[in-house]
């Protein structure tokens, strides 16, 4: 009747899939209290960008994925970039709304994906549980989108921007309908679950714990804080970090099964190399941030400012933001040079026999 299964293992799931939503909530509330609005950009930099990177690592780095999805990996980016640029030029409201809705669909599909993995690993649920879980995720996420104050403002604003008249009564009706559908579906879902148990299908309680914790966190930040900062920080933390975790373990297990130890990605995800995996994601984020000319404060959650005050004694005025950025970027580029200087200070001692052996 009850059979547990984990995405990674008990310990990792406890940290990354069950504990993380609570941490994300706490950190987001802390951000609201102690950090500036820059924190959203910082979270995007340190978590969002690396989670994009690991997608590229898997799709373009794994020969298996490349062979299977080649046409989509080549044509997809061309179409998406073209449509987005065209949209920004001719129909900015539409393209913005499509991107926003697609992003929300992506968030909910990740939640759904993890619920599927839980059932897959525990071999639980009947043949139709995948469809029921998909519907459950859609209903719960849509209800949050339609009925929470945070998202209500968002879609109401978009509707008015499109010139579609709405008022508070319309919104109330939408909220009531959304809750009614959610409640009716919840009853149907529980009924289906009970019927499955009666027919001898096991359920994985960890899956429901994961769903419960994730949606509790999302609902709390969407209803009770009504803060864009809190919601964005919490949502990006769970979405981005959990994605990085699943990609890491997916690649690691795949290479272990194939006994592939030669490819560079296999080496990257080898046990003990997790720091290198994370570092590569961080490096990508830093490079991306520098290339897009993003603000430097975003590296440090707004706590550190890249400002250079004037030095009257030298008749120097305050440095402009652009100059500060260039100084930072050039310093960063000089870092490998510093490492070269430092390493050379100890690897070339001729008095050492190991060095003599190579001469």
């Amino acid at each position: 009747m009850i059979r547990t299964g984990y995405i990674v293992d008990r310990r990792n799931d406890l940290i990354w899939f069950l504990g993380l939503p609570l941490f994300a909530l706490a950190f987001a509330l802390y951000s609201q209290f102690a950090l500036s609005a820059v924190a959203i950009a910082s979270i995007a930099l340190w978590i969002e960008y690396p989670h994009h990177f690991v997608t590229f690592l898997r799709t373009y780095g794994l020969s298996d994925d490349w062979d299977r999805f080649k046409d989509r990996l080549i044509i997809g980016p061309i179409v998406i970039v073209g449509v987005t640029l065209g949209g920004l030029m001719y129909a900015p409201l539409t393209i913005t709304l499509v991107m926003l809705l697609w992003r929300q669909q992506h968030f909910l599909m990740q939640l759904h994906g993890f619920t599927r993995i839980y059932d897959f690993k525990a071999r639980t649920g009947d043949a139709s549980i995948g469809k029921w879980d998909l519907a459950l995720n859609w209903v719960l996420y849509l209800n949050m989108f339609l009925a929470s104050p945070l998202f209500t403002r968002l879609w109401a604003r978009n509707l008015t921007d499109f010139g579609i008249p709405i008022n508070a009564d319309t919104v109330r009706i939408v909220h009531q309908c959304s809750w009614a559908v959610t409640a009716a579906f919840a009853v149907g879902y529980v009924g289906h679950l009970l019927r499955g148990i009666k027919d001898g299908y096991a359920i994985n309680p960890i899956k429901y714990l994961y769903l419960g914790l994730s949606y509790s966190m999302l609902y709390i930040v969407s209803w009770h804080t009504a803060s864009v900062l809190v919601h964005a920080v919490a949502n990006m933390i769970i979405h981005g970090i959990q994605y990085n975790v699943i990609v890491y373990w997916y690649l690691r297990r795949k290479f272990e099964k194939e006994e592939n130890t030669t490819s560079w990605i296999a080496r990257l995800v080898r046990p003990g190399n997790v720091v290198a995996f994370v570092a590569l994601g961080v490096l990508y984020a830093v490079i991306y941030q520098l290339l897009r000319g993003g603000n430097l404060d975003e590296f440090g959650f707004g706590l550190f400012r890249f400002e250079y005050a004037s030095i009257p004694a030298l008749s120097l005025g305050p440095m402009s933001e652009q100059t500060a950025f260039e100084l930072f970027a050039s310093t960063l580029l000089f870092l490998p040079g510093l490492l070269h200087i430092y390493f050379d200070s100890f690897i070339w001692r001729v008095r050492e026999t190991k060095v003599q052996g190579g001469l």
Binding site: R72, A91, A156
Partner: protein, 154 residues
């Protein structure tokens, strides 16, 4: 090998956007977003005030409305109520509040403190120092930001 059926999902995503595209290009009124219900506030702000009394966005909207009615003291109260909720991502709120304080001739120390908060949250804002602004606590400039700009996408 190019397989059209591999692009079904992408096609569905963009096809769902088609009605929006058609609406935006053909039916969207020029004054979309402007107040329609007899209020001086944009519709989305009226909804906020009606549904989410006491929220940061509702208080911000009420503050803006008070400015438009020339009641700067009420505007200040509402802006402060909005800030008390802890909201940090609405730059207009900080900016309009400072303008209101300036117009009310409030204590320079208080104004400087709020300016510091504004700069802390929006260090790269290109807007002029509100202490030198001639605006009236958020009264809109032609082509300037609307109060509904304070409501941002998650």
């Amino acid at each position: 090998m190019w397989e059209p059926r591999n692009f079904r999902f992408l096609l569905v995503v963009y096809c769902l956007g088609l009605p929006l595209l058609i609406w935006e290009l053909n039916f969207r009124p020029d004054d979309a977003g402007a107040p329609t219900g007899g209020s001086i506030l944009p519709d989305v702000a009226v909804i906020d005030v009606d549904l989410y009394q006491g929220s940061a966005d509702a208080e911000f909207a009420l503050g803006y409305e008070a400015v438009l009615k020339g009641d700067l003291k009420a505007a200040r109260r509402h802006y402060e109520a909005a800030l008390d909720t802890g909201v940090k991502t609405n730059e207009n709120l900080f900016y309009f509040y400072i303008e209101t304080l300036v117009q009310l001739g409030e204590d320079q120390e208080l104004i400087d403190k709020v300016v510091e908060q504004w700069r802390w949250n929006f260090p790269h804002s290109q807007r002029e120092d509100p202490r030198e602004s001639r605006n009236l606590g958020g009264a809109p400039l032609k082509g300037g930001p609307k109060p509904s700009d304070g409501i941002r996408a998650p």
